[in-house]
Every structure is written in structure tokens, then in C-alpha cells.
């Protein structure tokens, strides 16, 4: 009798526990996760409370970002900024998962190449009204730089605060040894080819004039700009197939002429700047972000003591600069519940003098032109950073083109471009056929992602 009662009690407990567990799961699932979310506190609210800030970076950048946040909280008592950071690659993995569950940080760092993956899905707010209402001041950011934060619908989803640009990194010691010196500031792609041909003849055995670049997406994007052509229109690649054929033909000619690293060497090159061929004295020239001069020089000093690096602008076309700006900036997700404070933080970051002097263009050149000049004029600024900022100023003065990257660009362009060129350089595939297949596949994928 007692045993039966005990069994019944246990069964009842089991059923109750099961129902409780199901209730927890059901309540968790029935919240109706809105990916875009709805703002529970509009941008016109008070600057108060807590916000999360997510960005990519490590080491010094984390300290500087924390410093800027401290300045902001000092200027806005009662506000708390909680940072979330990781390195560039992991950042996007994390952000993707956060975005799917409406849990993006209120101030989320973006880059032009990824921006439309999020903007096109309605995850971000249009920042134009905040500019109109004076909550975010962008008067010191050049229009073509600001436009890199726009979506394919023309709305502004990101306030760019740092502009990176690619450059040709040159080993000046090897260039002098080869008798070519530094290229002219306004060189063209024809000059580029002539330069590496001439340099190779005077280089020591085992050192190549240029790292093989046919599979580097940025090289091609910059090549297209130098031809005065557009890369994308809406969600379609609109560059002529012949341009891609010409680009790959140029690199194949250089490769087969023994002027570049081999396709196998290039495929095996480590992605970190410190391990790259240019940073180890194995090539005279390579395409590298302008802000990586310092770390490449540090590695080169360790590998080949006494050798020096510098950066020059990419080859341009007859009337068009060949340099493209890759900006990093801040966006506010629709799911943010404290948009007023998020907007105030972005405004502070972009315009506060002390904040800008502290951060000092740590993630690309400062887009605020007044602050950029103040940093260039700072006598204590590291010479490599000063060189990077001065070159950026020259590039901006030439009014570089704005490239708007469609949704799906990151997933369907960059890796596929490298793979397509490897088909040519490693497997001997036809340039014409590979170019056609690449563009066809790209347009199909971009249409699907739109």
C-alpha cells in the first residue's frame, strides 16, 4: 500500500517535473524573437543607463577603446559602457549569432564590406535622422568617406570613424639595391608592370619583385576603380568581364615571367602580416593595408636587420585614383533598447577632441578631418602612423570612389575570387572561362542574398 502510494507520488513528481521543464522550454521559445527587434527606447530619449559596445581588436586597441569609454562616462555621469571584443574573424562569427537572436550590442562596429549583410535584413537603424536632429555631428567627415556607411538603399547605417586603405608596401632597401628606387606617386598599372620587370633583374636570387596578387580581391577592386569602372550596382556585379580577364592576364604574365612568387608559395603564405613575404624580405613589393607598416617593419627588422619598408599609393588610372577606402564605423541595431545613449556615444567618439587624440587613428585614419590634422601635427606621433595618416590625407584629397558592397559580398566574393585565380595559376584553367564562371556564379549568389 505504502509502496503503491510511493510509486504514485514519484510518478506525479515525474510528471510535474516534465511539465515544468516543458513550460520553461515553451516560455523560452514563445518570446517571439524579433531579429530586427523594436526599439523600446527611441533615439530621442535621455542619455543614461547602460549600453554594450562590440568591436574587433586586441592589445593596445582595447586599452584605447576603454579609455575613450571612460572619457564618455565621465562626460555623461550615470552612463555605463560594457565592452565586448574579440579579433576580426571571430567578431563576425559572434555578431552573426547575436544578430539572429536580436542580441547585438547597442553600438556595434561595422565595416563597409559586411554592412549590407546586416542592413539589408532590417537589423540596423537609419542614422540620417540622428544627423538631422543634431545628435550625431558628421560635418567633419568628407562626403565620400561618409557614403561608405550607406546601404544599397541609400540610407546611412554606419558612421565611419576610421578609414583603412590598401597601399603598395615597398622594401626600399631592396628597391635601392635593384636600382629602381621608389615608384612615382601617380604611377599607373603599366608603370607598375614596368617597375617590377626592371626591379627583378637587380634583385638577389630567391627574392621576387612582387608577391603574386591575382587572387587578392582588393587588388582587383582597386584595379577596377583605376579603370574608372563600377564594381557593383545594387546587388549586381557590373564590371566588364574583359576587365577581369585583363587583370588575370597581367598577373599570369608576371608570374610566368618569374617576377612573382609562385602560385604554390602564395597559396601557402600565412595570413598574418608578421609572417608575410614582404615582412620577411622575400619580395620587394606587395599589396598591404597602409596601417600595417609598423608591424611589417618590426618583423622585417627581426628577419633582415637593416632593411626598410615604406608604403605608396596603389597605381591609378588616367583620371581616377586606384585606392579604395575600407572604413570601420559604428552602427545602432534596431534591437537596441538605449538608442539615445548609443547615438551620444558615437557622436562623442567621432567628435570629441580628447577621445580622438587618445585613440589616435588606431583602427584606420581618423575620418574627422580636423582631428586627423591635429594628429598629423602632433610631434609625439609615431613616424609610421604619421606616414599612414599623411598618405590617407593625400588619398582623400583625390576624391577616391565609394564602393558599396551588396549583401552577400563577403560570403560570395572574397574566397571565391581567390579560388578562381588558383584554378588558373595552379591548375592551368582558361582565364576567359574562369572569369565568365566567376561573374555568373557571383551574380547568382548576390541575387539570392539580396
Amino acid at each position: 500500500m505504502i509502496a503503491t502510494k510511493y510509486r504514485q507520488t514519484r510518478r506525479q513528481f515525474g510528471i510535474a517535473a516534465g511539465v515544468a521543464a516543458l513550460t520553461v522550454v515553451a516560455s523560452a521559445c514563445s518570446g517571439g524573437t524579433s531579429v530586427g527587434g523594436s526599439s523600446s527606447q527611441s533615439a530621442s530619449g535621455k542619455v543614461e543607463g547602460a549600453i554594450r559596445l562590440s568591436y574587433w581588436g586586441s592589445g593596445k586597441r582595447v586599452e584605447l577603446t576603454n579609455g575613450v569609454s571612460d572619457l564618455f562616462t565621465k562626460a555623461n555621469p550615470g552612463v555605463k559602457v560594457t565592452p565586448e571584443y574579440t579579433d576580426f574573424a571571430s567578431y563576425w562569427n559572434k555578431l552573426n549569432v547575436q544578430a539572429t537572436s536580436g542580441n547585438m550590442a547597442c553600438v556595434a562596429q561595422m565595416q563597409g564590406r559586411q554592412l549590407n549583410d546586416y542592413a539589408s535584413k532590417g537589423l540596423l537603424i537609419d542614422l540620417e535622422p540622428l544627423i538631422q536632429s543634431g545628435k550625431i555631428d558628421v560635418s567633419q567627415i568628407p562626403k565620400n568617406v561618409l557614403d561608405t556607411g550607406r546601404g544599397t538603399d541609400g540610407k546611412l547605417y554606419e558612421i565611419p570613424y576610421g578609414a583603412a586603405y590598401d597601399s603598395i608596401m615597398i622594401n626600399t632597401t631592396l628597391a635601392k639595391q635593384a636600382g629602381v628606387g621608389q615608384p612615382a606617386a601617380d604611377w599607373t598599372w603599366d608603370d607598375f608592370q614596368a617597375y617590377v620587370k626592371k626591379a627583378q633583374a637587380g634583385l638577389p636570387t630567391g627574392v621576387k619583385a612582387v608577391n603574386l596578387g591575382g587572387g587578392l580581391p582588393n587588388y582587383f577592386i582597386e584595379y577596377v576603380q583605376a579603370q574608372g569602372q563600377k564594381l557593383f550596382e545594387g546587388s549586381k556585379a557590373v564590371f566588364p568581364q574583359q576587365t577581369l580577364v585583363d587583370f588575370w592576364t597581367m598577373w599570369e604574365s608576371l608570374r610566368k615571367g618569374g617576377l612573382t612568387t609562385t602560385a604554390q608559395e602564395k597559396a601557402a603564405e600565412a595570413p598574418q602580416t608578421e609572417q608575410s613575404f614582404i615582412a620577411n624580405g622575400k619580395v620587394l613589393a606587395d599589396n598591404k593595408p597602409g596601417n600595417q607598416l609598423g608591424q611589417a617593419q618590426g618583423a622585417l627588422t627581426g628577419a633582415k636587420a637593416g632593411q626598410q619598408l615604406t608604403t605608396v599609393a596603389l597605381p591609378s588610372g588616367a583620371n581616377t585614383p586606384g585606392t579604395v577606402l575600407f572604413t570601420s564605423g559604428f552602427s545602432i541595431p534596431k534591437s537596441c533598447n538605449n538608442q539615445a545613449t548609443a547615438a551620444a556615444y558615437i557622436n562623442f567618439w567621432v567628435n570629441d577632441h580628447d577621445a580622438n587624440m587618445l585613440f589616435s587613428s588606431n583602427n584606420g585614419a581618423d575620418t574627422n578631418q580636423k582631428e586627423l590634422q591635429a594628429q598629423i601635427d602632433n610631434p609625439k606621433l609615431d613616424p609610421a602612423v604619421k606616414h599612414m595618416l599623411s598618405l590617407f590625407k593625400d588619398i582623400v584629397a583625390k576624391n577616391p570612389p565609394t564602393v558599396l558592397y551588396p549583401p552577400g559580398y563577403q560570403a560570395n566574393f572574397e574566397t571565391e575570387f581567390t579560388r578562381a585565380y588558383q584554378q588558373i595559376s595552379l591548375n592551368g584553367a582558361s582565364i576567359q572561362n574562369t572569369a565568365k564562371a566567376f561573374i555568373d556564379n557571383l551574380n547568382s549568389a548576390l541575387a539570392a542574398a539580396a
Partner: protein, 300 residues
């Protein structure tokens, strides 16, 4: 006349080897060659580890640029700098990793052994279907369940806590360990449990007094694999632990890297070297148990 046959001459090979026969020259050569080959293969396997160890003692400007293992300059700076690099605090990360790993080990041992006992010994409706269902989860890649899990934990307000990393371990979600223990428990003689039943033991009593003590090798294997998986896990802590004070060692190591900025490789290699020490130590301690557990369950 004795008809007994003379004692057969004992073959020389059967004599006790007071003076063991020297191996022939060809056998000796083959043995040496085999060992040289094995050492070479071992060196190839260990080379990345040795290179990392060597790089952790090199000055910052010599981290790369050589494939050699002997550092031309020797420094402990990478260990000193790496331990508290910038905002990173590895004393905290090691402790966080340890706490999470221990909680996960306890969870997996408790929940997987209970589930395994049920599947191996109890009779209940849909047992086979449910077991197949549990095993079927092994086929699901982690990435497929990542987003739904994150959505669930976000609704439970568990983000930025260790709960998403630990609580599932108490729900027997690691099907591999359930399977491992089911296999092990099935090898135990049922007579022991029958005898316990006659003595009045219930299922929990049999589980605690008979099954658990006899399943120690499988439990040890579960503990070791759980420890390695948890200690090495990067994606889980990356997604769920936002506050740098709550990071684990793997996320902390990632903090040395930034492909768009300045990476600190020397300190990274130093801390990576330290990070593998607990795994090596745990393996050395539990090595016999691990091999026994794997061998007796037929999982190879």
C-alpha cells in the same frame, strides 16, 4: 635390458637463455631502421609543438623568420608579458577554464552515467527509439544547433554567464558519453545486479553501489574527454561570455590576435604553451584509465 629410449636431445632454442642469442645483423638493422623512422615521424608530429615552445622563448623580433627550434636569443619576457598582456589576465582565465571544466566533468559523469544505466538495464516504453534518437544527435553538427541554442539561452537571460556552457552537461546532452557508458555497462555481469536486487536494492542503489564502482574506467574516459573538449572549446565561451573577466583560456589566447591591428605572437605562444600543460597533466594521470575505458567498450 632396458628398452627405454635415450632422452631426446633438447633443442638449443628451448634451453633457458642464460646467454641470449645475439640478434642477427639483418634483424638489428631492421630494428634500428624502424626506430629511426618512428622517431622521424614522431618528430614531424611534434614539430609544431616544439616550434611553439621554442618561439615562446624567443625575443619579439625573432618570433618568426626561422624554422629552427633552437632560439638564438633566450627570454622569459613572453611569459611575463603574456600573463598580464594589456587587459588580459591569464590567472583569471585559467581559473575560469578550470571551474567550467570541473562543473562540466561532474555534469557529464552524473547525467551520462544515469542515462546510460537506464538505456543499458532498465525496460521502458520506446527505449530503443529513444536510444536511437540520442545517438542520432551525434550526427547533428554543433553549428546546426548553435543559433537555436543561443536564442533559447538569450531568452533565459543566461548570456554572459557560464550556465549555457555548464547546464546542458547535466542533461546528458553528450550522446557520445552516453553511448560509451551504455557499451561499458552492458559488459557487466547481470548476476551482480540480480544479487543486489535480492538484497533489496532499488535501481538507484544498484546504480550507486554496483554499476558506478565497476564503471570507473568509462567514467575516467568521460572525465578526460570532457576536460579536453571543455578546456579547448573556443566557440562556446566566445559566444556566451561577453565580459572579459569571465573569459576562458582559449578566448584569452584569441585576445593576442588581431588581423587588422597588432598581434602579439610571442606572448600568444607562451600562454598557449602554458594552456596545454593541464591537458598533458590530466592525460598522464588518467592515461591507464583512458586506455582501459576505451578498450573495454570496444570504441576504437
Amino acid at each position: 635390458m632396458s628398452t627405454s629410449a635415450p632422452p631426446a636431445r633438447t633443442p638449443a632454442r628451448a634451453l633457458s637463455p642464460i646467454f641470449p642469442k645475439r640478434p642477427s645483423r639483418s634483424r638489428l638493422v631492421r630494428g634500428v631502421a624502424r626506430h629511426i623512422l618512428l622517431i622521424l615521424v614522431l618528430f614531424l608530429v611534434l614539430y609544431p609543438l616544439l616550434w611553439m615552445l621554442s618561439a615562446s622563448f624567443r625575443p619579439a623580433n625573432q618570433t618568426f623568420g626561422t624554422l629552427g627550434l633552437w632560439p638564438s636569443g633566450f627570454t622569459l619576457d613572453n611569459y611575463r608579458v603574456g600573463w598580464n598582456y594589456g587587459t588580459l589576465q591569464f590567472s583569471k582565465y585559467f581559473l575560469n577554464s578550470l571551474v567550467i571544466s570541473v562543473l562540466c566533468i561532474l555534469g557529464n559523469i552524473l547525467s551520462c552515467s544515469l542515462a546510460a544505466y537506464a538505456f543499458a538495464r532498465l525496460e521502458f516504453p520506446f527505449k530503443r527509439v529513444l536510444f536511437a534518437f540520442v545517438l542520432g544527435t551525434l550526427l547533428l553538427p554543433y553549428q546546426a544547433t548553435l543559433v537555436p541554442q543561443y536564442v533559447l539561452f538569450n531568452h533565459l537571460a543566461w548570456i554572459n554567464t557560464i550556465l549555457p556552457l555548464v547546464v546542458p552537461k547535466y542533461l546528458a546532452t553528450d550522446a557520445f558519453f552516453v553511448f560509451l557508458m551504455v557499451q561499458f555497462i552492458r559488459t557487466l555481469p547481470r548476476e551482480l545486479e540480480d544479487a543486489a536486487k535480492l538484497d533489496g536494492c532499488g535501481h538507484l542503489g544498484i546504480f550507486a553501489r554496483i554499476v558506478v564502482p565497476l564503471t570507473i574506467p568509462a567514467i575516467g574516459t568521460t572525465a578526460l574527454f570532457t576536460f579536453i573538449r571543455t578546456w579547448d572549446d573556443f566557440l562556446g565561451p566566445l559566444l556566451y561570455l561577453n565580459d572579459p573577466n569571465k573569459w576562458t583560456v582559449t578566448v584569452g589566447l584569441n585576445g593576442f590576435l588581431d588581423t587588422t591591428g597588432v598581434s602579439a605572437f610571442g606572448p600568444l605562444f607562451a600562454m598557449a604553451t602554458l594552456s596545454i600543460a593541464p591537458i598533458v597533466g590530466f592525460f598522464l594521470v588518467a592515461q591507464r584509465m583512458l586506455i582501459e575505458g576505451v578498450a573495454t567498450t570496444g570504441i576504437k
